[in-house]
Each structure stands twice: as C-alpha cells, then as structure tokens.
Symmetry: C2
Subunit: 413 residues, 2 copies
C-alpha cells in the first residue's frame, strides 16, 4: 500500500515535505472523524425504539422521526466497522447502538417476512411508509448484518446477510419480478450503474477475510466489474450512468446522464477489485476512466467542486440540482484519489486528492456544530443547513474519513 511514496521521483527534502503534508492530513481527517462520530452519537440514537434518527438539523435537532432503511443499515455498518477496525472506537456504546439498530432492522425492515423485500422508509416505531422497487434497501440491510456478525460473532446476523444476498443476486441476474416493477412496452431495459456497483461492494463486504464466501462470489465480482466497465462509452470519453444491459448507449436524457461523483465512487470500488485480482492493467484503465475523466468533466472551473449531474452532449440537465455541490461526491472523490495514489504512486492523483480535500474541508465542514453540510449552491454557499435527511446519514462522511485515515497511515508506515 505504500507504493505511492516509493514511486515518487523526488529528492529527500521534497519527500520529507510530502510526508509532513500527508501526516498533517492524517491528523486532520482523524480529528474530523472523531467530531463526526460524536455528532451522530449525541443526536441520532433512538433510545426508545432502537435505530437512528437521521433527519437532523444543523444543530442536531430531530426535525422528523422517520427511519430511512438505507440510512439505518448504513449507520449500523459504519458503527460496527469503526468498532472493529479502530482501537479508539472499540467501545460498547457504539456497539450497543449498532446492535439496537440491527434489531430494529431485523424486526421491521422486511415488509412481509419471510419475504425479503424491505421498506424504503419506516415510522419511528417500525411501520412501513414507502417501498422502492429497487434493491438498495436490501443491500444496506445486508451490509449491516454482515458487519454485525463480524463485530459480535453472532451467527444469526450472518445467516440473514447471506440469505438476503442470495435474494438480491436472484433479483438482479435472474428474475426482477419480485421487485414489483411494471413491465412497460416503452421502458428501456436500462442498467443504472448503481446496481453492479452496489453488488460489487457487497461482494467485497461478504468476502472480506472469508475464503469460502470470497470463492462463492468470485464470478459475481467479475460480472459486476464487467458491467460497471460497460458504462464507459463514446470511445472511452464518457462514463454514462445508464446503459442498456448489453452495454449500448440509451437515447435521450437518460442515456446521456453523467454523475461525476458516482463515477469516482465506482472508481474506488473497481480499484479494490483490481487489488483483489492483482491486475495493474485494469487498474490503469480504472484510474484513467473512472478517476481522471470524471474529474476533468465534473470539476467546476469557476467555483470549484464537482457538479452533481451533467449531460454528455452538454445539454442542460433536467435535474434541478444539477449544478449543486453535494457532500458525497466529494467524500467519494477523496477516497478515490488517495486510493489511486496509494496503488499507483502517480503524484497527479495525490495532487487531486489535496485539491478535492481542501475544497471539501473548507466548504462542507461545520466547525460550529460538527458533521458536514450536505448541499451547497453552485457557488459554494450552504443551500440546505440540514446535517441529515432522507438521503444523508452517518455514512459517506465517516466512511471517507476512516478510509482516508487508514490509507494515509499505510502510506506513512
């Protein structure tokens, strides 16, 4: 993992300066991780019903008590991960909150057990409010259960994770009818990049230090990587969010849609895949197409920051928020560039990490109340003061900070 420093063509003095910069960033992300985790621990735990409040104002006030299943699963996952892998987070308060969140999911997430379909959002006490006809609630449920097993050793969590994974794979690769989407004659058989991305993420999650499951999912991981790579279109000049199942560009806005932050996230998922495979050729391709290309097209030359949506033919996107700067594309970009540098040693990637991290820490952090703002205007002003909401919980920010702390530690060691 310390290819980066070794590969630098730099004098001893430069190298020393680089070490200091890396060390300073390591301390900065570590301290920020502490503050962010403290925010969620202080404001988000539902002591009565278990699970987490995620609709939190700037100051941490609960402005809605709905429980979004994606965010419940993600927070359980995050807490367990921190508990397992960071000495300073290895304390019972974090683990107990994760367990209470996991029990809430076990009891309430599924709409009609033993059926596997999960709700998208639940009331505070666990009654279903909305369902999405996608796989994502179930994916975050799986991530939560697998981490809970790793953190507690309780096998029932792992059983739940593996059974849900089998169901998800069935929906994606064999028969999607259980998701309840109507078959419409004019609907294109579009593949959103999120689907193979999410599955690849689960393959890594379930296969971690688990030879049996890693083996079981090898072919699936390769399939996911191939499907993600199919989203590189137009002679390698664009990553498109939606393509046909056989890898062709789709017509209209749907086909031309780009999401630079999402491509960068896919980039680091693929980098991890390359590490597992030991495939430096694929790694170079991924760096080129999923890191450098989306950054070039997606970084706002006027105000900094990554645009949320773009159109591959430079039409104006129809998403009202297309030019806003959202927190998660930036946290994903930080991970992607730092991981890319760690693996390749290419100093261009380290400079991009610094560029993104400086923008991100300057614009998104809230030094007053902790956690990050999620939604800035194109110019970088806070557009929504919320710290959490239906799509922002305890996940992208701490995952980014924890992974960057680890990557920086490895580079420095």
């Amino acid at each position: 993992m310390s290819n980066g420093l070794r590969a630098r063509q730099a004098s001893g003095g430069d190298m020393e300066k680089e070490r200091e910069t890396l060390q300073a960033w390591k301390e900065r992300v570590g301290q920020e991780l502490d503050r962010v985790v403290a925010f969620w621990m202080e404001h988000s735990h539902d002591q009565e019903h278990g699970g987490f409040f995620t609709c939190l104002s700037r100051e941490g006030r609960v402005y809605d008590d709905l429980k979004y299943v994606w965010l419940q699963g993600r927070q359980v996952w995050m807490y367990c991960r921190l508990y397992r892998t960071f000495q300073r987070f290895h304390h019972s308060q974090l683990l107990n909150a994760a367990k209470a969140g996991g029990e809430f999911l076990l009891r309430y997430a599924r709409l009609a057990p033993p059926g596997k379909k999960c709700a998208f959002v639940l009331t505070r006490d666990g009654r279903p409010v909305k369902v999405q006809r996608t796989i994502f609630s179930e994916c975050f449920y799986t991530m939560a259960m697998n981490e809970l097993w790793r953190a507690t050793g309780e096998v029932r969590y792992q059983t739940e994770a593996v059974e849900m994974m089998d169901q998800i794979v069935h929906w994606v690769r064999e028969d999607a009818s259980g998701l309840g989407r109507p078959q419409l004659q004019g609907a294109p058989t579009a593949e959103p990049m999120a689907v193979p991305m999410m599955l690849l993420n689960l393959v890594e999650q379930l296969g971690e230090a688990d030879e049996e499951l890693a083996g079981k999912y090898t072919e699936l991981g390769d399939w996911c990587a191939r499907r993600i790579l199919q989203h590189v279109q137009r002679d390698g000049q664009a990553v498109l969010e939606n393509v046909s199942e056989d890898g062709k560009e789709l017509s209209g806005c749907l086909g031309r849609q780009q999401n630079p932050g999402h491509a960068l996230e896919a980039g680091w998922f693929l980098l991890r895949h390359c590490i597992r495979k030991g495939d430096p050729e694929l790694r170079a391709h991924v760096v080129d197409k999923f890191l450098l290309l989306p950054f070039r097209s997606g970084w706002d030359p006027d105000h900094g920051g990554l645009f949320y949506f773009q159109d591959a033919d430079d039409f104006c996107p129809t998403q009202l928020e297309w030019a806003m700067k959202l927190w998660w594309p930036h946290s994903e970009a930080m991970i992607a560039f730092l991981m890319g540098y760690s693996e390749s040693g290419d100093p261009v990637l380290l400079r991009l990490f610094y560029q993104v991290a400086e923008y991100t820490f300057r614009q998104f952090r809230d030094p007053e109340y902790g956690e990050w703002f999620g939604y800035l205007s194109r110019e970088g002003k806070v557009a929504l003061s919320i710290k959490g909401g239906p799509f922002k919980g305890c996940f992208h920010v701490p995952r980014c900070l924890a992974m960057c702390e680890e990557l920086l530690g490895a580079l420095l060691s």
Copy 2:
C-alpha cells in the same frame, strides 16, 4: 369584473394614471403571449407522430423526444382555449396541432384500454415508459378532451372527457385501489392539496357554459372547496400542502410542508368557485388565507421571488430546490392577485400583482429566444436554461398571459 377601478378611492388623475398602467400591462402580456405561443408552434410539434416535444433547450432544440402525458394534455388544452377565446389565435394551424395531440392521447395515453389508467410518459411513438400511481395524467387528459370538444364540436371527445372524469371521481372519493398504490401500515392517509385543486379545476372546466354538467358537479365542487380549505391550519396562520383526510395536521416534514405558489394557485381556483357561488364572504377568506398569507411567508425579502418550498416551523426543507425560484408559482401569483383585485377592488392586491409581474418579466423572460426560463437560483440567476422539460410545457406561461390579458381587458372596459 371591473369592480377594481370602480372601488378605488382615487382622484381622477390617479385613476387616469392607473388606467395607463393597466393598459401598458395589457399590451405587455398580450405581446408576450404572442411570442410564447410562437415558440411552441415553431419548436414543439411532432409532425410525424402527432403530439408535442416538450424537452426543448433554450433555443428550442429537442433534447429528448419523450412525451409526458401531463404536458401533452395541457398543450392540447391551451391551444384549444386560445383558438376558442382569442380572435388572433383562431387559426387552423393551432387547431390542427391540438387535434393531432388529442389523437395521440386517444391512441396511446391509456395503458390497457378500455381501462382508464394513463401512462405518465410515453415514447415519441406512444409506447408507455412510466406510470404514476396518481390521478394527474388522467386529469390533464380530461381537460384536453373537453376543450377539444368545445373547439371542434366532435362529441367523441366529450364522451371521453366525461367518462374519464367519472373514473377520476371514483378513484378520489370511493376507491383508490385502481391506482395501484400499496397499502402500507405506516403510510399516513394524507391528502395532497393538489387532488381537490385538480378536481375543482375540472369541475369548472366541464361545467363551463354547460348547465347539465355544472349541475351534475355542484356537490363535487363544494366538496373540493371544503377539502382545499381544510389545508388552512394552525389557527389560520399556514396553508399546509398535506393534511389528513379529516383535516388534521400530519406529523413530520410531510405535515409541515408549504408551497406558496401552489397555495396562490389554489387561491385563484377558489376565487373562481366564489364567483360561481356568489359568495363574497368566502372570497374575503380566500384572499386572506390563499393570497396574502402565502405571499407574506413565501416572498424572499432578500432577492425577491417566491420560495418553492417552506417548512411551517422554519426548519430547512429537505427538497434540494426549496429556495429556487420557479416560473409557475410566479405565473400563478400573477393570476391570483389580478383576479383578486378584479373581484375585490382592493388596491393592495393590484400592487402585489405589479410587484410579482415586474419580478417575473424581469427574471424569467428570455428576450433572445422567447418563452421563459423555468428555474432560477435563489439569487435569480438562470439555473437551468431549458425552456421545456418533464414538468414544463406549453401551459403555465401562456395560461397566465391569456388570463391576465382577459382580466386586464375586463378591468379597462
């Protein structure tokens, strides 16, 4: 309709000046209406399949050829209305385009005829792409068919309109199961204000100069008005977008959601109801709660313009576009204030009309390519350069301009 000028407590000189201002606005909106209609006639007609392209760039280029059923129905309605009620639009080009749009809807809008459920969006050649589990595609279908009947005299259109109306009323008042929404234990039985608003609009549309249908729908119109009035909550201090079916505030963000432009639109729907009923007491209530109150809370004191969403407890809304300035709340506000003034003669309402109209003409018009921009930033900069898209077609702008031209004409006569 000329209560306004009669009621002004003004000297002869002031009155003359007021007339001049009104006359200038009448000319301004009339000329703008011509330019807007010209934009749609030039760029939106699909000569091959019938119906309309609505995904149009700033210059009028088609950037997607999907056909959104709301917007197909609205454009048919608008063209017929202009053809019927404005001498200068009484030409065959407009009527033929409306008929081609109507035939496209008749042939393709319904998913499984004789079932009434319509698609939300179709391919250019009419294959269904998406369905919404709401009544709105069907409502705009009904508006289109009723106006087509009025414009052409062909009874088959009216049969279609009345049968669809019966179906919509059945879904709203008797049994919504045909819409396909899942029954979930935690889902609140929320009434979005749009539902009784849309129905009240249809009651007016179908009952216009039609004693039989006006009589048939009298009770329904009263029911709609009562249901809309139930959205005035918190001792008359807020219009809330969603309430329970028995008129109670709902919990969380859903319950606290406000949309000032939507309240203003409901305001003029209710003013028309008051005119039909001859009910000046209700009119005063409507002016107070649906015109003045949303304007006071919704007008941005810093940059002008109406916010899109607000939270009744002043939490930050979770909609990313909450502070953006959209075209349609402003066109609805122009109608509401001018109609309110016409009916009540209250000069406060006329001043508000001028304030909104000046902001709107200054910020939304595109003097270069015609039509209006739809989406501005909080500060009033063009955020999306599109002239049409999935939710913006040939409707709110020309409806506003046509109604204002008529209202101003009546005030001046």
